[in-house]
Each structure stands twice: as structure tokens, then as C-alpha cells.
């Protein structure tokens, strides 16, 4: 008897599938994105720095653009270095990064056809409350020198991201970085690097957006911020389509137009987490002062 049951099982399963499959086709897609996919509406691939993605700002802006342009935006969050590499190899249409020197090189090498400043905030140096190096309120260059000379624990991203590039830049301004044992390279994103710094009671360079979003989880405190040397500009670039004809350059331009439009810039200015403004728009001053 049991054997017979097993014998019939595949037949039931096939019958089940035959009944189910037409049913699936008749179901209207519940998600609007699915419908867009089916109609082969264009897709924009957008590489952004992890700090922007983690801030949640794009979760607010991107759906607005998707709705107004009936398209889909695939957001790929990586470090600035990797984002530019993806642009270079034509894997994305638009990149949003915060690495001015690398951006210049990208444009000069002809990988991009449009470069627009978008917004800015500041980097900050966070560290343990005890601040054994005593950098609180000091000049940035002096502070870095003090950390290095005292061999205090410092965690670097070490991953070629915008924040890491800025850190290298700052060390250069401080007269180069001497090697010391407690200079630690995490090779990970900002969030994880902050967790490590918190666990290891270390000094760390962090962008303001990541800090404001996550600082309530840390025991670290901000020690230095707000100076010109810690200015953190974000820019958006359209990748050159001449080398990669499959790029969606028209949609890419519309997207950049959308990001620097007055409406979007006001949204960026108003975007807050825990009562703190994360980004200051760069394109508002001249246009909105009517």
C-alpha cells in the first residue's frame, strides 16, 4: 500500500504544477517594480559611497526619481575607490563619491563626462572619552602628530575609500605618518571600522553622516571637527558612454539634474536623523535666494 502511495506522488506533483503555473501568469504583479521590469523600462546603475547609502538619504530620494521617470535605480554601495573603478569599467552609469583628488583623476583620464558638486559635511576624529593623547580642541595637524608620537591606537580604513584617501592626505599634511604598532588597518567599511575602534578604544577618522547615524551605539566621543581641513565634499559624475555604449547616458543626465535641482537640494538640506542635519547641499545658495 505504501509503495503505491509513493508511485502516485510524482503524478500529483506534476498535476499540481500544471494547475499552478497558469494561475501565476494571471496574477497581476503586486510590486510596481516588477511591472517596470516586464516592460523593459530602463535601469540606472548608481554606485555610491557606503556613507551615503548608510545615511538613508537615498532611500528617500531614489524612489522619487523612479516614480517621476518610470525607471528603476539600482544602488550599489561601495567605497569611493571601488565606485570609481566601477565607473571606469562601465559597470555603472552614475557615481557619487567623496574623494576630490581621485575625482579629478577620473575626469582627467576621460572616464567621466560630467562632474557636479552635490553636497558636503565634515569629517571628525573620534576617540575614547579619556583622550589619552589629549587632542581635544587641538589643531588637526598637531593632533595627528600627537597620536603618532605617543603611539596611541588609531584605526584606519585602509581600503582606498574616500575617508581613507582623506586620512592619507591628512597624514601628509602632518608631515608623513611614522609607522607604529597600534596603527591598525581594518580594510572594512566605516560602520564596522567604528565598531572596531569602539571595542579597541582607538582614535578614528569618520564622516559626519555615519557618525550621526550610529554614534548612540558607541562609547567613543567626537574630539575634533568642523575645521576646513576636515571638509568633506560629495560629488556626482556621469560615466563617459563613448567607451561603453550600453550605458544609459540620457537617464544618467536626468538623474544628475534631479539631484542638483532646487527641490532635491531642499530635501537634502531638510534630511535629519535624531535632529541632526547630515548633509549640506552645495547648489542651493545661489538658486534659492530669490
Amino acid at each position: 500500500m505504501l509503495l503505491q502511495h509513493h508511485h502516485w506522488l510524482p503524478v500529483f506533483m506534476i498535476a499540481w504544477c500544471i494547475f499552478l503555473v497558469p494561475g501565476c501568469e494571471n496574477n497581476p504583479p503586486a510590486n510596481p517594480h516588477v511591472k517596470i521590469d516586464a516592460n523593459k523600462t530602463s535601469v540606472l546603475r548608481f554606485a555610491v559611497t557606503t556613507s551615503t547609502q548608510d545615511s538613508g538619504l537615498l532611500d528617500m530620494l531614489v524612489p522619487l526619481f523612479e516614480q517621476s521617470h518610470a525607471c528603476r535605480v539600482d544602488v550599489i554601495a561601495v567605497g569611493s575607490g571601488a565606485a570609481l573603478k566601477k565607473g571606469e569599467s562601465g559597470d555603472v552609469d552614475v557615481v557619487l563619491v567623496h574623494a576630490p583628488a581621485a575625482e579629478d583623476a577620473f575626469m582627467k583620464a576621460g572616464h567621466g563626462i560630467r562632474h557636479e558638486p552635490l553636497m558636503h559635511n565634515y569629517f571628525l576624529i573620534a576617540g575614547p572619552v579619556e583622550d589619552l593623547a589629549g587632542i581635544r580642541g587641538k589643531d588637526l595637524v598637531v593632533a595627528l602628530k600627537t597620536i603618532a608620537e605617543g603611539s596611541h591606537r588609531f584605526i584606519s580604513r585602509g581600503d582606498g575609500s574616500g575617508t581613507h584617501q582623506r586620512e592619507c592626505d591628512l597624514w601628509q599634511k602632518a608631515g608623513g605618518r611614522p609607522p607604529w604598532d597600534d596603527y591598525i588597518e581594518s580594510g572594512q567599511g566605516q560602520g564596522k571600522t567604528m565598531m572596531m575602534a569602539d571595542e579597541m578604544n582607538a582614535y578614528v577618522l569618520c564622516d559626519q553622516a555615519t557618525w550621526l547615524k550610529q554614534s548612540d551605539k558607541y562609547r567613543l566621543v567626537p574630539l575634533l571637527t568642523g575645521t576646513d581641513k576636515l571638509h568633506n565634499p560629495y560629488a556626482v559624475m556621469v560615466v563617459d558612454p563613448s567607451k561603453h555604449p550600453s550605458l544609459n547616458v540620457k537617464l544618467a543626465h536626468s538623474f544628475v539634474d534631479f539631484l542638483i535641482s532646487v527641490e532635491t537640494q531642499i530635501l537634502i538640506a531638510d534630511y535629519q536623523i535624531n535632529g541632526h542635519t547630515l548633509f549640506h547641499p552645495d547648489r542651493l545658495s545661489e538658486e534659492s535666494t530669490k
Binding site: V78, G79, A82, G158, D159, I184, E185, S186, G187, E199
Partner: protein
């Protein structure tokens, strides 16, 4: 890209790139240590579960079997919670050291060795234990007999556990922290190269990983084969 990766891998190996050698040696000794410890514990637990009326034995066997499919990120997360400064073992400052990875991988390997050992001993011909009893073997001799009869399955279990630990990323990244020159392993180095868009170097790293994993497997397989031939 794949061809570039292979060429880069050979170049990196050819000039004994220090960062690759460093990561490779670290990967090797971490997983060797973790698997050795897990094998000793796992074989002992497997034997106990198979031969002694441990209370709740059936439940334990099922738990270990489930343990084989616990994702490494979950093991990593649990180890993080335990080793973090705010965790119960925070005072030992083990987080972001290679010891943390060893501990995590121990828990990855333990269920594999335990389950396979238990299964192999359970499947032994009942005549093995009967014969041992009738010949008046002492408990320790009986245990050695069981292990000897099940050795092939146990060697395979250890191999599987080693392969899992050696190629594992989640635990090494979470509790090791991918610190350059300290806790960076071949897998976390690969993840870093890929995140930086250095695909060729990333691929080179994973080829080194693959080569080493294959090498270790072959060596152990060869040992166990020659061991079997000499025994028969």
C-alpha cells in the same frame, strides 16, 4: 578577467608576495588549530553519544546535526556578542585577535566532526563490540578498536571540517576584523580586494586559497590511503 586573475596569482606566488604569504600562513594555522581542537573534542563527544547512555542523547545528536548547517555569520555574531567588551568574556580582550577566529571556527568544525564520528560508530558492525567484549578488551582498548574501525569516516570528517574552516569568511571578518598583518586571512583579504575593485588581485588571492585547500586535501587523502593499505 579570469585569465588576468590566474596570471596575477602565479606572479604573486612566484615572487612570494609577503602579504599573500602572511595571510596564507595565518589562514593555515588558524584553521589547523581550530580543527585539531574540534577533532579531539568532536571525536570524544561522538564516541560518548554513540556508546554511552548519555541523558538526552537523541536531542544532542539532533542538535549537533543542526549545528552543521548554522551559517558562519551567525557563529560570527554569537562569538562577537560573547567576546565583545560588553560581553561575558570581554575582559580577556580576545575580540579582533586570531584567537577569536580560532574559537569561532572551533564551533564551526565541532558539529561536523561530532556528527560524522557518531554516525560512523553507530554504523559499525555490532560484531566489532561483541568480539571486543568476548576477547576481554578493556574499555580503552574497545574505544581504540571502534576508532580504528571508523577511522576513514573520521578522517573524512576532519577533512570536511578543515575545508569549511579554511575557506570560511563570515567568522574571520566579524571577530577577526581583517586587520592588516594581524588578523587578515586569505578570505578576508579576497573580500577586501574585491571591495576595492581590485578583481585580479582578489581572484589571485582566491586561487592561492584554492591551491592550498586542494594541497591539504591531497596530502591528507594520501596519508589516509597509505595508512589504510598498511593496515590491511
Amino acid at each position: 578577467m579570469i585569465r588576468d586573475g590566474i596570471i596575477d596569482a602565479l606572479k604573486l606566488l612566484g615572487r612570494l608576495d609577503t602579504s599573500v604569504i602572511d595571510a596564507a600562513l595565518r589562514s593555515l594555522w588558524i584553521s589547523t588549530l581550530a580543527v585539531t581542537a574540534a577533532s579531539l573534542a568532536g571525536v570524544a563527544i561522538g564516541l560518548l553519544l554513540a556508546r554511552k547512555p548519555v541523558p538526552g542523547r537523541a536531542v544532542l545528536v539532533v542538535l549537533f546535526r543542526i549545528g552543521m548547517s548554522v551559517p558562519t555569520v551567525l557563529i560570527g555574531l554569537l562569538c562577537y556578542a560573547i567576546l565583545s567588551r560588553r560581553g561575558p568574556f570581554g575582559q580577556y580582550e580576545l575580540l579582533y585577535t586570531t584567537w577569536a577566529i580560532v574559537i569561532g571556527e572551533f564551533f564551526l568544525a565541532l558539529p561536523i566532526v561530532t556528527t560524522w564520528t557518531h554516525g560512523a560508530i553507530m554504523r559499525l558492525d555490532p560484531r566489532v563490540s561483541e568480539t571486543a567484549y568476548t576477547l576481554g578488551a578493556r574499555p580503552i582498548q574497545r574505544t581504540l578498536t571502534y576508532l580504528n574501525e571508523a577511522r576513514l569516516a573520521i578522517v573524512l570528517a576532519v577533512l570536511t571540517a578543515f575545508a569549511r574552516c579554511f575557506t570560511e569568511l563570515g567568522i574571520a571578518m566579524m571577530v577577526g576584523g581583517n586587520i592588516r598583518g594581524r588578523t587578515r586571512t586569505l578570505t578576508t583579504a579576497t573580500a577586501l580586494e574585491t571591495a576595492q575593485g581590485e578583481f585580479a588581485r582578489g581572484m589571485a588571492m582566491s586561487f592561492v586559497l584554492l591551491l592550498l585547500a586542494m594541497g591539504v586535501t591531497l596530502v591528507i587523502a594520501w596519508f589516509s590511503r597509505s595508512g589504510q593499505e598498511s593496515a590491511s
